[in-house]
């Protein structure tokens, strides 16, 4: 008895599907006539990767290597360097875009908001070698999607212009010689 009902349901569902397909003939198309027509991309679209700067205009990347280790295709390589006053920055920073799958893991791993994916996917090249981007190619002048965050203002490590005890939510340095509570 149940199997008879099932049969009918299945047949009906075939007609329903046909109906849906037919309906689409009269609705507006989702695809666009690229490249004549440009695509509307949203700010959080995951495309070409950039390195951003902090609100003070300094390089945000601290060369912590977290993006590199998070990357499932291992297409990020960099080397930490340090300026006279203790600020870490990448000596070189390379992304092999011919390998990148635009997964966004690097952005998620980044503790400083330095690395960000942008709404740009137009990266075709005739020569695959041109898909290898160095820091000069990646570093932009702005803050990208996150305008306010400045890692070094929160971190305890001192850098030029921010001594010990001057980070957010930090008390002035301890005087070890005092015996007062």
């Amino acid at each position: 008895m149940n199997s008879f009902k099932l049969c009918i349901d299945l047949i009906l569902s075939q007609f329903q599907t046909l109906g849906t397909v037919l309906q689409h003939t009269f609705t507006k198309a989702d695809t666009v006539e690229y490249p004549e027509q440009q695509v509307a991309l949203f700010p959080r679209y995951r495309g070409r990767i950039v390195l951003t700067r902090d609100p003070d205009g300094l390089e945000r990347c601290v060369a912590c290597n977290l993006c590199a280790v998070a990357c499932p295709v291992d297409c990020i390589a960099l080397q930490k360097s340090e300026d006279q006053e203790g600020r870490w920055y990448p000596d070189f920073f390379r992304i092999n875009f011919s390998r990148c799958i635009m997964c966004g893991f690097c952005e998620e791993a980044c503790p400083t908001y330095a690395i960000q994916l942008t709404p740009d996917f137009e990266m075709c090249e005739y020569d695959r070698q041109s898909m290898v981007y160095e820091k000069e190619d990646l570093l932009i002048d702005g803050t990208g999607k996150y305008h306010d965050y400045n890692f070094y203002r929160i971190a305890g490590k001192s850098i030029a212009g921010k001594g010990k005890g001057e980070a957010e939510n930090e008390a002035p340095p301890i005087d070890v010689k005092t015996l007062l509570p």
Binding site: V62, A63, C64, N65, L66, A68, V69, C71, V73, D74, C75, I76, A77, L78, Q79, K80, E82, W88, R94, I95, N96, S98, R99, P111, T112, R128, Q129, M131, V132, E134, F151, I154, A155, G156, K157, K164, G165, A167, N169, E170, A171, P172, P173, I174, V176, K177, T178, L179, P181
Partner: protein, 894 residues
């Protein structure tokens, strides 16, 4: 054996240890901070809390600290009990209240015990909203960074530095929540073991400054099991490489040798591998030559001639020296050592081959209940041994603890009970040493005096040992005192070595060892280089002796294997020697004065790019492996040697096998390390961690398609992140990592149930385990008569500066002393000389101009000559020389 119940499961464990160590050895994860396997328990951090139940019915239990709880039969523990977990997570949250937001810019990140424990306890988000405490940092010298904000006040650093390593310039300053771990003022951390703070501190307060200068996270370091090249003890290391550069060295645990600690020379001496002094291309008559065919042709042309000799190296592997011997033939094989050096090594080797007592491993050194050091400045010639001796001195307190029924791992209690009591340490030296402060008796005298003291002591302990006469009454009393101490000892240890350049001291030490009445007596003899013992197994006289043959025209080509001959004789003498060489071939990895004179200079691999076997002073054969692939034109030293002749030994294993079979003593080593065909689950062992990053980007700037990973035909390791993560033999383990344990504390996952040895056996094979009767050595000659103006050369060793390879590391260079010669204050006054005066030293070959240093504690009649400093004259110890003060206008060496 006892039954221990943890979370309802029964385990069979041995009694005597604390619960934390036992639980970790069982493979369980229990967070901790202040406990350290080598430092014992103080129970201060409260991180290792567990529930202890009274009996099977008790379901409530009470919180105890696992590190302070002895394992007892029937003990019932709740490790995962909710209350215990909650407590541990709360403690961690408290420790983190002041912790800076630093991980991304912290050198510890990725191998941080604090990170690991934070994740393990489940503390994921910060609730504390008040101000964070902050601290100023200090400059601590070229080895160590200081970032005090990251401290969690576990006290491990000071416990290691002061209590364990005997340092006195790292303190806890300040009070209560403000405690500060640093020096009284910024400055170089003076202790020779300061580098271990990097591994002992569970956070990023103390980090490796040399690593920081070319920083790489642990997960990006390609590593391999290696052996330290900077002294004869054979400490196990794990060097790490990235982008073709050696980036750091960390300790590789070995239950019988180095345990958890290295010395600073071993840890920071690696940088010579990256130095601009490295030889990267072959040079023919000083012209760079990159065509391999031309090089090989030239090399072979120089070799076909039968008139060839080879000069061996005590810093190259057994295999390389064997390959050299095969190339030139046994009769043409010479040791790359001066006459005195060689005879001393031979003397040591004779004692090792038929040892009159157990040759102590470093672990056994720690078990000695009385130590006597004869004429060897071990802090500077075999530093890790000095650290082991310091631990031996604690045995008295462990005996006391036993009578008080205190477990030996209750660190604070045992130290409190013992106060300043030490097991006896007797030091006989011609200058003050770093161990004097903990010595019970210091015998001060030149090597002749030391030898006579030891001969007399041996005679006093054993009537058959030859006696010496004409001791002063004072010396006789000293002999009496020391004899009493040594005859009481159950596990006495005699330490000596080649350091004071005196065969008499060695002979006297041998008599003393034989004379000791204890059945568990031990000995330890220090030699200069990582493979001094190994190369000593080959027959061959000193290269100095080849001079006659050369002058006769018997020799055309001289092949020098990794050896700077200028370190083995006076400059004029060696230059003269080299002048009579027709064709000089040098195989080496770094430029040195000998290499600069080569007609054909062949670039060989440093220890970081090649493999081989070394024989430590303990007679332990150990393998080291290449950390990184060879660069372009560089070849393994043994490959160069193979190329010259029959081009046999395409693979290292073939050479190694031939070498082990050729030398009778090496037979036990045949079974030592798995060979290149060894596989774990059918796969090779990866040198790179499984999280190695950037593989498709590292060389993308050169070419976007990745090259194939370099193959390694010489070992079971691979230059890759692919391979088996399964259990590998300890001798093939590049480094430690385990799930949840990213820091070096992961080593507890690689140790056997006792936590003392590596699972699968501690690497290496000891060759001289059988104890013989030995023979009595003839007593010292009567003291020679000397004019007051005559001074006797005595070598002074420096941990930083005396060893050839580490001198190429920039951090070590910063710690090396400037050139000097040293006199005792009274004698300097007699001679009318003051500190820093320019003086002229007249030797057999030349006159040297050097600044004078007044050295309190140095014996009279001695001219202290620092060993191995670049530019320092090399004069055998015991040589008589004259010294005069330079007047204005006299200048320049001649």
């Amino acid at each position: 054996m006892a039954t221990l119940h943890i979370d309802g499961q029964a385990y069979q464990v041995s009694l005597g240890d604390n619960l934390l160590k036992t639980a970790l050895a069982l493979g369980l994860d229990l967070p901790y901070f202040c406990w350290h396997p080598a430092l014992g328990s103080v129970g201060s951090c409260r991180q290792c809390a567990v529930l202890q139940y009274h009996n099977a019915e008790d379901s409530k239990g009470r919180l105890v600290m696992a590190c302070m709880t002895p394992v007892s039969d029937g003990l019932r523990i709740g490790l995962q009990a909710a209350e215990a977990q909650q407590f541990r997570s709360d403690i961690l949250e408290l420790l983190m209240t002041n912790h800076p937001h630093d991980c991304p810019v912290c050198e510890e990140g990725g191998e941080c015990h604090l990170q690991d424990m934070t994740v393990l306890t489940g503390h994921t988000s910060r609730r504390f909203r008040s101000l964070k405490r902050s601290h100023q940092n200090q400059y601590l010298g070229p080895f160590i960074n200081h970032e005090m904000n990251r401290c969690i006040a576990c006290y491990r650093c000071v416990r290691f530095y002061n209590d364990y390593a005997g340092g006195d310039d790292l303190h806890v300053l300040g009070i209560h929540n403000n405690v500060y771990f640093g020096r009284h003022e910024p400055g170089v951390l003076e202790n020779e073991f300061s580098g271990n703070l990097v591994e002992v501190c569970p956070t990023g307060v103390f980090t490796d400054k040399t690593l920081s200068q070319h920083y790489t996270r642990k997960w990006d370091l390609q590593a391999a099991p290696s052996i330290c090249m900077h002294c004869s003890l054979g400490c196990n290391t794990s060097p790490g490489e990235r982008y073709g550069q050696l980036r750091r060295i960390v300790n590789r645990y070995h239950g019988e040798v180095n345990g958890y600690f290295l010395c600073d020379r071993g840890r920071f001496g690696y940088d010579f591998v990256n130095s601009s002094q490295r030889i990267t291309t072959a040079l023919i008559k000083q012209q760079a030559q990159s065509d391999p065919e031309i090089i090989t042709k030239h090399w072979r042309k120089l070799c076909v001639d039968q008139k060839i000799i080879g000069i061996a190296s005590s810093r190259a592997s057994l295999e390389a020296n064997y390959a050299l011997q095969q190339l030139v033939g046994q009769d043409n094989f010479y040791q790359g050592l001066g006459l005195q050096e060689l005879s001393l090594i031979k003397q040591v080797l004779a004692l090792l081959k038929k040892p009159p007592a157990t040759i102590a491993t470093l672990k056994q050194v720690e078990s000695a209940d009385a130590v006597i050091i004869l004429g060897e400045d071990i802090t500077n010639t075999a530093p890790r041994l000095a650290l082991a001796v310091r631990q031996a001195l604690r045995n008295e307190s462990f005996t006391l603890a036993k009578t008080l029924q205190l477990a030996r791992w209750l660190d604070a209690a045992v130290r409190e009970a013992a106060q300043n009591q030490h097991s006896p340490l007797i030091i006989a030296s011609c200058h003050s040493t770093r161990l004097d402060g903990v010595a019970s008796e210091v015998v001060s005298g030149n090597p002749e005096t030391i030898a006579r003291f030891a001969f007399a002591l041996a005679h006093r302990l054993h009537g058959k040992s030859p006696s010496v006469s004409d001791l002063t009454p004072e010396q006789q009393l000293q002999v009496e005192r020391v004899a009493k101490v040594l005859s009481k000892a159950q596990r006495p240890l005699v330490i000596s070595g080649t350091g004071s350049h005196s065969s008499e001291v060695l002979a006297a030490a041998a008599n003393l060892i034989k004379a000791l009445p204890a059945s568990h007596k031990m000995m330890s003899l220090v030699v200069p280089d990582a493979n001094s013992i190994g190369v000593g197994l080959f027959d061959g006289s000193s290269f100095i002796e080849a001079k006659q043959r050369m002058d006769k025209g018997d020799i055309h080509t001289v092949v020098v294997l990794e050896n700077d001959l200028y370190r083995h004789g006076e400059h004029a003498e060696i230059s003269d020697w080299l002048d009579s060489v027709k064709h000089l071939v040098v195989i080496d990895h770094s430029l040195n004065p000998t290499a600069e004179r080569a007609e054909l200079l062949l670039p060989s691999a440093s220890f970081a790019e090649t493999e081989g076997t070394l024989l430590s002073s303990e007679g332990r054969a150990q393998r080291f492996f290449a950390v990184m692939p060879l660069s372009d034109q560089v070849k393994h030293n043994w490959r160069w040697l193979a190329l010259a002749a029959a081009d046999n030994w395409q693979q290292f294993d073939q050479l190694s096998l031939a070498c082990y079979q050729a030398i009778a003593e090496l037979e036990p080593a045949l079974a030592m390390t798995p060979n290149a065909a060894y596989r774990v689950h059918g796969m090779k062992i990866p040198r790179q961690p499984h999280r190695y990053s950037g593989r498709t980007a590292v060389t993308a700037d050169i070419h976007v398609s990745e090259e194939q990973q370099p193959q390694d035909l010489n070992s079971a390791l691979d230059f890759s992140m692919e391979g088996s993560l399964g259990h590998r033999p300890p001798a093939l383990n590049p480094g430690v990592w385990a799930p949840s344990w990213n820091s070096n504390q992961a080593v507890n996952k690689f140790q056997d149930e006792s936590g003392d040895h590596l699972r699968g056996g501690d690497p290496g094979v000891r060759l001289f385990d059988k104890v013989y009767k030995g023979r009595w050595h003839p007593p010292a000659k009567p003291l020679p008569h000397r004019e007051p103006s005559e001074l006797v050369i005595q070598p002074l060793h420096h941990i930083f500066g005396s060893e050839e390879l580490s001198n190429g590391a920039s951090a070590i260079k910063q710690r090396s002393p400037d050139l000097y010669v040293a006199l005792n204050p009274a004698q300097a006054q007699d001679l009318g000389m003051r500190d820093n005066d320019p003086v002229a030293l007249h030797s057999r070959y030349a006159q040297y101009h050097l600044p004078l240093k007044i050295l309190p504690g140095l014996c009279t009649g001695i001219l202290g000559l620092p060993v191995g400093l670049p530019g320092m004259p090399v004069i055998e110890g015991g040589t008589t020389v004259k010294l005069h003060r330079l007047n204005n206008g006299e200048a320049g060496n001649d």
